[in-house]
Symmetry: C2
Subunit: 334 residues, 2 copies
DNA sequence: CTGAAAGCGCTTACAG
DNA sequence: CTGAAAGCGCTTACAG
């Protein structure tokens, strides 16, 4: 496939490259009628399509952005990506998707590559492990938006769920329904991961608001693979919980699996609320009360913020945290 | 952020651009020890990072591929993308992800844009609606791989599930278990969509192999939103099915939702098998018998085929259909 | 062992 | 209204 270039078109039409370029960029203002037609015809006949790479080199814009997610297999990431894609499609931008796998090394590698590829900006679910890099980007005024997690030391527009509220919605409902011991299950908290930390805080604050003492015994913080086993221990205890708040969908799966194995009845033996909507919530038995994240709105907002930054580089936006409202979907699991 | 270029590095190090370029490409063969150190130091001090766009223009390779999926929200697409991403990451390639939404117009737009952006190749879940374009690409020897669907008129490497076998596995199991009336539910078949057509064929062939007459009455072909209603009609009939094969996960959801609403007991009132594994199959009540697609292997294969095509353009591979084995996961819903 | 020069395919002042 | 020329930031024969 011999590629046809602008020079070919120019020759074929008997005009200069400049004129073809004007045509391609729809600057017809000063172009003769016949000239335009000739160029149009030449493009048609040669099947010319411009090399955007070459244009990018000159214009310093690739109309492409990078999106680095923690894991594209998570439903939440998928929905955020989809929303970003839709928004970018409108604006004629493309997205390069990368999986950082929660690994700061991989994250850095991707960031560097994306910049080397001259993407116009980056949306990232930050691992938090590349402080110096984030700060460098901010200093360079490189367009960037954080999603799902924040990095307190770094001044970047950030799109987050109101995580405390999400946990509070769950606790409030459980308290209203009269549950006494409200447990919480989360993956490990050893590292600062915004959603987990904030949801934990929300859980504790909400308990306090209801004058319930936080009981560390009712908290499980373990790797996904160990949750069922710990749950088993927890439920043997005399002061076992009668309700549990699952910090995310992965945790909810473990609880449901456990309940199934042990023949526990939900909500009678154990009430359950999960943060994150799940596909089967509406037809599980019982139907599952969940707290949904507005993932599409969040993705859209992230894209909007980034494209704004890209388009008017001059304006010095103040950076902000954008909080989105979780939505309580009351069903029958509590 | 004033970008530092190769020329800056050259000046700073007191060498020529050529030398810096050699250094960047690790061609140290003929480079003096001191020269190398000087360049290294200059790069360090200036914080130089090369502009890959510029390199791409010269080298005619962007180390980027395009991936056009039908819908990134589908679990299958997600898994395929993830596998492609992983494979590409190894090879230092990046992926641009696009959603065609099953719309040939959008598909064409994306294809054109991706080529204009000089991606080195494209993996696509083809809508089937751009025959001329596909054929043009083949003629141009443009690296391309189809996934999930085939386009019979076009000679392109294609990665598919053995769809007939998937349906056959389901029917065989149901027959073995003694079910008499085995129904099938699918989205509309008006257009040729490989998985649907092949699974339908597989279903009919499998029935025949068991000397069961195919009864069109037991088949529902309807938009997702109308399935429950049609199912209701179907199950009122005298010769209603006692088992159903769901052609994909979306259909399975509808069946489960229906069963829940009507208080049907699975498998006693109605046995169910779904093609596509679902997250909750293992802890639903009953646990769900499904037929899983090896999505990761399929994605990996697609990436492998594409990168091979990209790397040795000379070699004329014969194009092939690569079939992957579905996996029957026996559980309790039949 | 290193540098000058041409070129990748565009865009953009500037001149006429 | 249109064209010649310079330049975007690299790479790559080629010369010495």
């Amino acid at each position: 496939m011999k590629t046809v270039t602008m020079a070919d078109v120019a020759k074929h039409a008997g005009v200069s490259k400049s004129t073809v370029s004007q045509y391609m960029n729809q600057r017809y203002d000063y172009m003769g009628e016949k000239t335009r037609e000739r160029v149009e015809k030449a493009i048609e006949e040669l099947g010319y399509s411009p090399n955007i790479i070459a244009r990018s080199l000159k214009q310093k814009s690739t109309t492409t952005i990078g999106v680095i997610v923690a894991n594209i297999l998570h439903v939440f990431s998928t929905q955020v990506i989809r929303a970003i894609e839709d928004f970018c499609h409108e604006a004629n931008f493309h997205i390069i998707v990368c999986n950082a796998d929660d690994d700061p090394v991989k994250e850095k590698k991707y960031m560097d590559m994306l910049r080397a590829k001259q993407v116009d900006g980056i949306i990232v679910f930050p691992t938090g492990g590349n402080l110096a890099l984030y700060q460098q980007l901010v200093r360079d005024k490189y367009p960037i938006v954080f999603v799902d997690r924040m990095v307190p030391e770094v001044e970047v527009n950030t799109v987050l769920l109101d995580n405390e509220k999400a946990a509070k919605l769950g606790v409030d409902l459980l308290v209203t329904k009269g549950y006494q011991g409200i447990g919480m299950i989360t993956p490990p908290l050893h590292r600062y991961v915004t959603p987990r930390m904030e949801r934990m805080n929300g859980y504790q604050k909400a308990l306090k608001a209801h004058d319930i003492k936080f009981d560390p015994q009712l908290l499980i913080s373990a790797e996904i693979g160990h949750i069922r086993q710990q749950l088993d221990v927890l439920l043997q205890q005399p002061n076992k919980p009668d309700a549990i708040l699952a910090i995310n969908d992965r945790v909810l799966f473990e609880i449901l699996q456990y309940a199934k194995e042990k023949g526990l009845s939900i909500p009678d033996d154990l009430a359950v609320i999960g943060i994150d909507e799940v596909t089967f919530a509406g037809f599980y038995s019982p139907t599952l009360t969940t707290i949904a994240q507005p993932a599409f709105e969040m993705g859209k907002k992230a894209a909007e913020l980034l494209l704004n930054q890209i388009q008017d580089k001059t304006e010095v936006d103040e950076t902000k945290i954008y909080r989105f409202e979780p939505q309580l979907l009351k069903r029958d699991s509590c």
